[in-house]
């Protein structure tokens, strides 16, 4: 059972209170973008075995979207953080680095 702490209401919500929202920190490419950028924005997703950054929504709860950093292999949760950011905060990066030295994910790394 995956348990994530909602950063807005503080509930340690188990998976059935949450809704998965896919990959975190996507940059939107819309009108005026190149076909290649638009294609990648629509279709290209990370599928790592290990460190992953995701969006989740506390749907059966306070209703807010937030971010989670976790390991897809062990289901270990490194931390959750606010949705009002376009990159993982240093505190979360440090937590990942403590457990998975040398990690990288898209343009982010230890």
């Amino acid at each position: 059972m995956l348990i994530l702490e909602c950063p807005y209401c503080g509930v340690h919500a188990e998976e059935t209170e949450l809704h998965a929202g896919g990959e975190a920190h996507l940059k939107r490419f819309g009108p005026g973008a190149s076909d290649e950028d638009f294609h990648d924005y629509l279709f290209m997703r990370e599928n790592p075995k290990g460190v992953h950054l995701e969006r989740w929504r506390h749907v059966n709860g306070c209703g807010k979207w937030f971010h989670a950093a976790r390991c897809t292999m062990t289901l270990e949760v490194f931390g959750t953080y606010t949705a009002q950011t376009s990159e993982p905060p240093q505190e979360i990066k440090d937590k990942i680095s403590a457990k998975r030295p040398g990690w990288t994910w898209r343009e982010f790394s230890a």
Binding site: Y8, C9, G10, V11, A13, E14, T16, E17, N60, G61, C62, G63, K64
Partner: protein, 189 residues
């Protein structure tokens, strides 16, 4: 104008706990900036309460107010007076970014009381209901089996549940099933 009726006409059931539909409740969804002095004053005027802390409910003789999210409160007031309270809030917060809506008729209200009340709710909601973990004044939005709902515990030891009126029958049947006399687990006994 027709006479307003609650979803289940006050149905009740006695099992491990007493389950009852508590009739029409006045409810207002209020969204805005909790840090604003005007917002705090409007909440106080409407309910007699200060803005509650995270996942808490505050109550007074006038009404109650529950924490729904970092920018949303649920105001509980007398059913008959809801529209007047909404008008009063809208006037007080004119010019300030906010939302105040009468949602009373979109909701159903239940009470679960008695010895087995904690267990009856714990069976159907993913919330730690152990004494000390959930106490009077605590408020929680969650799911009850397959439907969304919120609940709190009052000073008299009664759990109050609110959900959408459209799922009132589901909620009632769910709570009655959970309160079936032969379904005792005894985990909090």
């Amino acid at each position: 104008m027709s006479k307003a009726q609650s979803a289940l006409n006050g149905a009740s059931y006695a099992g491990l706990a007493k389950v009852e539909e508590t009739g029409l409740g006045g409810m207002i969804t209020l969204r805005g900036d909790f840090a604003s002095a005007g917002f705090q004053a409007a909440v106080k005027a409407a309910t007699g309460c200060d803005v509650p802390g995270v996942r808490k409910i505050a109550s007074s003789e006038v009404g109650a107010v529950a924490w729904m999210s970092p920018d949303e409160l649920l105001l509980l007031v007398d059913y008959a007076g809801v529209d007047a309270v909404v008008a009063q809030i809208s006037e007080a917060l004119a010019g300030e970014h906010h939302l105040a809506v009468n949602v009373s008729d979109a909701r159903a209200c239940f009470a679960v009381s008695g010895e087995g009340a904690r267990e009856v709710i714990a069976k159907v909601a993913p919330v730690d209901l152990a004494p000390g973990q959930f106490e009077a004044g605590d408020f929680r939005r969650t799911r009850f089996a397959q439907v969304a709902g919120a609940f709190w515990l009052d000073e008299a030891g009664v759990f109050h549940i609110v959900c959408f009126r459209s799922v009132a029958v589901y909620m009632y049947n769910l709570l009655c099933t959970s309160a079936h006399p032969q379904s005792k687990v005894g985990v909090y006994a």
